[in-house]
């Protein structure tokens, strides 16, 4: 471990670390809290829950989001559910099991102490959400319902139809708005953070741009929390919202915060396939569908060919001619293997020539078998003797509709195909980024006073995140971790008076932002921002996507460098800096992605092993499974930035005292 990376993991047994630490972390008395200011960037699950909780404690909070309302942060789009070790199903779940599943699911590249804490507080999140009025799905007895997700063998996922993220975010948002109403939180919507201000090595504020009139604003804070989400949009096509970006985290990185494991990105197996060049984003079909959907491709290549040419329909293919490849390769977990495994398996079949749509990049997700099973159960419940096939189908469809109705509707709107009649077609797409700003146990980056929460940090999911764990982590960080851990820093800041934003550090930071904006507007080249974004996305998808290799990554690095140079000499940004200018906003974000893209490839090149979402073709078993190298790569790769896009690697060794590391098997 290099001296620059102190993870500050408390001493003691794993089970007691958090409880003990929580009880000994220094406190800030209520009177002092009133004079301490906290800036929060991003209003998703992590940002909204942190803002509400910190304001309730008495801190003065400012929240910034680029959307027109805090409620629109992209957490809203999370579909399937949120994990918690409640063991309501009596199926053997426990804090330890959730901890173990998460570490294993992350392919042994996450910190034990952080993940154990996450599992510990998971149950509180459900309690808190229900208390704030989140209408989770319930059984007829009035108690909460659960479902299964990938990478686990217990039912621990709480959900609200296919809109769990929406319901949880609206819960956190209502808590946030309540504090806005009391004046404890000041909300800055349609504002984008464009620089971090540091004074004497400590983070002291930000520069933000009011997107409606282009004015740059200086804001002081005793601490700054980046809750700005992940960087999946580096790929251009992803399940992220159009505005999701890395800019806040990247500006912090360039000010000295280390960026950890950038190559750990998650490709989600069940998304609607790309339909054409016009595509602006990809849409996820929730992992919860894998509870009831069976994934298959034709067993015969000629059938796949006929499907691609539209000569036959999927239902024409007989049962014995179908290859349920996940059930075949992974009998123990079947269709519920983790996301990275399911994605690679789909790519493997499609690369081998078994893809089922016109591009050859799609597999089927089929609900027919389970629709019939549900239909029979319903017929039994209703006492229908000898139900007809049609009755069974219609009863079954009603059950499927209740569970996944909104997802099926969305699928039909996008593709024009009715998934109740035809199996869905799906293909993997970029969904989540496990990498992010390096943080210690307190969620503080290596810049004192600068924190990163939720997807913006790297800490809990290792090399692959399990389904329904992102919502859990965002809310854990915001509701139950930061309110305690921030005391360790702020208790020493009570004598720090608010620093005037006339301070030279603010003046200089604002000038940097202004210079970048002026530069972007003055290029007046010939290609649009999207043109460069699409090109970048394709490079990263092809060379740093589901499979990577040395030659490809080296090529990608030079391609990204060349593209970046072209961008800065030929991009065309219309309009001016003094009004609403979405093209200018995009240009700034793409400029940052063009730097991050290089670092992702560099990190992927450096990590000469396969683990989780990072699959290096040179390192695989004979059966094509990922081959980890614990001897040499059991570390967090934290990159330090130097001017001119140079980086230095720092390693934080991962220590497993409580889990015996093994090859990850879902067979």
């Amino acid at each position: 471990m290099t001296s620059k990376l102190d993870s500050k993991i408390p001493e003691g047994n794993l089970e007691q670390k958090w409880t003990k630490y929580r009880s000994t972390v220094p406190l800030v008395n209520p009177a002092n809290k009133r004079s301490l200011e906290i800036i929060i960037v991003g209003s998703g699950l992590a940002g909204a829950s942190a803002a509400a909780s910190l304001a309730e404690l008495g801190y003065k909070v400012k929240v910034f989001c680029f959307q027109d309302s805090a409620r629109r942060a992209h957490s809203i789009a999370a579909q399937g559910g949120i994990n918690a070790a409640k063991n309501y199903q009596n199926d053997g779940d426990s804090t330890y099991r959730l901890f173990y599943d998460t570490i294993k699911g992350g392919d042994y590249r996450a910190r034990e102490a952080n993940v154990y804490r996450l599992a510990e507080v998971s149950a509180n999140i459900i309690d808190q959400s229900v208390a704030s009025g989140v209408p989770f799905a319930r059984e007829y007895g009035g108690l909460l319902s659960n479902r299964s997700f990938g990478g686990t063998q217990v039912q621990r996922t709480f959900y609200a139809a296919g809109q769990t993220g929406q319901q949880l975010l609206l819960g956190a948002y209502s808590g946030l708005q309540r504090q806005v109403g009391t004046g404890n939180v000041k909300m800055y919507a349609r504002h984008e953070m464009l620089e971090v201000v540091t004074i004497d090595g400590k983070c002291r504020g930000i520069i933000a741009r009011d997107l409606t009139n282009g004015k740059l604003e200086r804001h002081f804070g005793h601490a700054v929390l980046l809750c700005s989400g992940g960087y999946g949009n580096v790929f251009f096509l992803s399940t992220n919202a159009m505005g999701s970006n890395v800019t806040a985290a990247w500006k912090a990185h360039k000010k000295g915060a280390m960026f950890a494991n950038p190559c750990f990105t998650q490709i989600h197996p069940t998304c609607i396939p790309v339909s054409g060049d016009h595509q602006s984003k990809l849409t996820l079909m929730s992992e919860s569908l894998r509870n009831d959907g069976r994934i298959w491709v034709p067993a015969k290549k000629e059938d796949a060919q006929a499907l691609r040419e539209g000569r036959i329909m999927p239902n024409d293919i007989k049962e014995e001619d179908r290859d349920y490849y996940l059930e075949r390769r992974y009998p123990a977990f079947g269709n519920l293997v983790p996301r990275d495994v399911a994605s690679r398996a789909a790519k493997e079949r499609c690369d081998a020539g078994y893809g089922v749509n016109k591009t050859g990049e799609a597999v089927f997700l089929d609900f027919a078998a389970n629709t019939l099973r549900y239909g029979k159960i319903e017929a039994n419940k209703k006492g229908i003797q000898n139900p007809s096939q049609e009755q069974i189908e219609s009863l079954g469809k009603a059950v499927v509709k209740e569970k996944y109705g909104n997802l099926f509707d969305m699928y039909e709107q996008i593709t024009g195909v009715n998934p109740y009649e035809q199996p869905m077609m799906i293909y993997p797409a970029v969904h989540y980024t496990m990498g992010g700003l390096w943080v210690d146990y307190n969620l503080m980056t290596n810049i004192p006073g600068l924190y990163a929460l939720g997807e913006a940090n790297f800490s809990d999911h290792g090399a692959n995140r399990l389904g329904a764990s992102a919502l859990m982590q965002g809310l854990a960080d915001g509701y139950f971790v930061i309110p305690y851990t921030i005391g360790a820093y702020l208790s020493k800041e009570i004598m720090t008076k608010a620093i005037s934003t006339d301070h030279e550090a603010f003046v200089e930071a604002e000038k940097n932002v202004q210079d970048t904006i002026n530069r972007l507007l003055s290029i007046k080249g010939s290609k649009t921002v999207d043109y460069y974004h699409k090109k970048l996305g394709l490079i990263i998808w092809n060379q740093c996507g589901m499979a990577r290799n040395e030659a490809g990554l080296k090529q990608a690095i030079s391609d990204v460098q060349a593209l970046r140079e072209e961008f800065w000499s030929n991009v065309k940004v219309p309009g001016d800096a003094n009004s609403l200018n979405p093209e200018l906003e995009k240009a700034g974000r793409v400029a940052d992605f063009l730097e991050l893209g290089e670092l992702m490839c560099k990190d992927a090149l450096e990590r000469k092993e396969s683990c989780g979402g990072h699959f290096r073709e040179e390192y695989q078993t004979e059966e094509g499974e990922a081959l980890r190298d614990d001897e040499n790569y059991k570390y967090v790769a934290a990159w330090e930035y130097f001017a001119g896009n140079k980086w230095e690697l720092h390693k934080e060794d991962l220590i497993y005292d409580n889990i015996k590391i093994a090859q990850r098997s879902y067979k």
Partner: protein
């Protein structure tokens, strides 16, 4: 099957809140029926930028029909001709070759235009701040299963909570009433045991804020619910009216 369309667009252009604004006409060609309505706008904007013209500003983010950002008034209907979808989920297969499509921003005085099709909907946030919450501080919660909630109540609360806050209800209403939006939140909490302690106070304060923001009165035309992309039901307005009356009649509440 996929087809290509040539279309005429009439789009509202307005530089800022004080500008008078006017329609401008654009032609777009070779639009695939597989495109979403917003992707068609992407194509148009790309063309405008290339031609050194000012691209059209519009709100959008998730493009999955859940964030509530997109807000176009298309051919006289919020979110366009299709029922139950937001503009981002409206696909070009709902249109025909040669169609003229008129696109305007939400028109309601509590939603002032910022630029082109972008309006300021912060009034909704202020209504939520006035009472659209359950006052429970982090850490105060009891076990989530301590109070069973009848499934039908939970389901109905969820149906209300599915509101995405896009403002289509206001745009659809001839009075620019926000009753559907406000009642969805009031109703969600009124149906849950956790929402009972503040039930009367909540409805009074949210309605007061709604009036303060300048939203119009409800005259029961039902246009809001008919145009709501999430199918929020008028029942919630009825429930809110009952609660509001009860709150006004009870002496210990303001």
């Amino acid at each position: 099957m996929e087809k290509n369309l040539n279309l005429n667009l009439k789009v509202w252009r307005q530089k800022n809140a004080s500008d008078k604004g006017k329609f401008e006409e654009y032609k777009v060609n070779n639009i695939s029926t597989d495109m979403s309505f917003l992707e068609m706008f992407d194509v148009l904007n790309d063309k405008l930028v290339t031609e050194d013209k000012d691209p059209i500003a519009f709100d959008h983010d998730c493009r999955e029909g859940i964030c509530g950002s997109c807000s176009m008034f298309i051919n006289g209907q919020p979110h366009g001709p299709k029922q139950g979808v937001t503009t981002c989920q409206l696909h070009m297969r709902s249109f025909n070759d040669g169609d003229t499509i008129v696109v305007e921003p939400w028109r309601a005085s509590p939603f002032p235009v910022i630029k082109d099709l972008v309006v300021d909907r912060s009034a909704f946030d202020r209504i939520i701040s006035a009472g659209g919450f359950i006052s429970v501080n982090t850490g105060n919660a009891q076990d989530a299963n301590a109070i069973p909630i009848p499934k039908e109540n939970a389901d109905e609360a969820f149906a209300a909570a599915a509101c995405i806050g896009c403002g289509a209800c206001v745009a659809a209403c001839k009075n620019a009433s926000a009753m559907l939006f406000v009642s969805a939140k009031v109703s969600q909490f009124a149906l849950l045991p956790q929402g009972q302690p503040e039930r009367h106070q909540r409805v009074s304060e949210m309605v007061a804020q709604m009036d303060l923001e300048g939203f119009g009165a409800c005259t029961n035309t039902g246009a809001c619910s008919a145009e709501c992309p999430k199918g929020i039901s008028l029942t919630h307005i009825a429930r809110m009216n009952r609660d509001y009356l009860a709150a006004s009649l009870s002496s210990n509440e303001k």
